[in-house]
Point group: C2
Chain length 227, copies 2
């Protein structure tokens, strides 16, 4: 199987017009080496809107009892750049991105911004190659079960909030965070945090900021306590 | 013809499921008088996303040579609340909005926010009642010619910028604005502005701020000069 065929298999769509796929994967830096190429920015604009509708519709159906505010927050979580970049990695897009040699040498194809743009452009390309229902089915295949995906994201996104809600709901004391260690030079500090509930340690974690370290500790506690 | 039938004629869609139309027109204040009614907030969430895709797609096709930045700005102009409220008025929605007696007594059905919400909810309702292509055709009927609509909006939106571009393009001096009068008490000031090009007065206008007065003057000049 060629590279393109295996990519199309992962995406779940075989392009009738392969130049759309190529354009979707073309980072603007490629125009430096290849002035005639069309980059993926216009397709990204279109794909962003397709994604917006697919998510809105899926959330509208999946949560019939939720108000607009919840649906809007849920959509913003699932449309976040960092999450779309993760989705692009799941589809193994990075190795297919076409960019200038200079940009690739700097690992530009691994950056969130480039991955997010390519993913949205890919959505735009599939839409132009097919129609709305086909594109929607294809995207929903990438996302999998939307409520489950959302739940995982919310947990990953705000572990401290989630741990606090859980301890409150169970009549326990608020989680208490301590930075127990701080190491490394100023520009590359590493923080170690611990979280305890009612004096009992529940998790420890580290990160490049206090917040990151505390969130890492909260994630450990969430797993340990079966939140 | 009933009220509903004439509304459907203006909208360009006859609902298979009339309860969707009713829900789209139901302002949240109606729940005070009618606790069992469903308001239009969820439909508005959905309709906003449908509108986003319809506009993105229309702009993508209408401006094949424009970059993403232009398309995004154009879309934000056409999706602005104040503009959607104007569209709602063109469709004569205000008299059909269902709200509490108290809210209606305060003319809530004439407010931009209520009109924008109803219009977006109406789009969501048409989408649920039909499919994407039908909804798109219906919306494009409301908007009319998209580039022409956009041009009119841009002129209305930024008359000073437009007048300046025009005078530059015609090798003339920059428009020069003067506040010639300022009247009324502090909380209800009224400003009078004049615009001149190369010393020749081209328009005068008034407003509740200097900016508003200058924009009004620029609009007069735009009409006078045939910009």
């Amino acid at each position: 199987m060629t590279d393109t065929a295996s990519l199309e298999q992962r995406i779940g769509h075989c392009f009738r017009n392969p130049s759309l796929l190529e354009q979707a994967l073309t980072h603007s830096s490629r125009l430096q080496d290849n002035p005639d190429a069309a980059d993926n920015q216009r397709l990204e604009f279109l794909g962003d809107a397709v994604l917006g509708l697919v998510l809105a519709e899926a959330l509208y159906s999946a949560f019939p009892d939720e108000r607009e505010g919840y649906l809007a927050r849920a959509r913003s979580v699932l449309a976040k750049g960092e999450f779309l970049a993760q989705l692009a990695r799941e589809l193994e897009l990075p190795s297919h991105i076409l960019m200038s040699d200079a940009e690739r040498a700097q690992e530009g194809h691994l950056r969130d911004a480039a991955l997010e743009d390519s993913l949205e452009a890919l959505i735009g390309a599939i839409y132009l190659d097919t129609d709305y229902p086909t594109t929607r089915d294809c995207l929903l295949g990438w996302f999998g079960d939307i409520p489950a995906r959302l739940q995982r994201r919310l947990t990953q996104d705000n572990p401290k909030g989630r741990l606090q809600e859980w301890s409150q709901a169970n009549g326990m004391a608020q989680p208490d965070y301590t930075i127990v260690d701080e190491a490394g030079p100023g520009h590359a500090k590493e923080f170690h945090a611990e979280v305890a509930i009612a004096g009992v340690p529940q998790g420890a974690g580290m990160g490049t900021s206090k917040k990151e370290a505390e969130e890492a500790a909260a994630r450990v506690a969430i797993t340990k306590l079966g939140v």
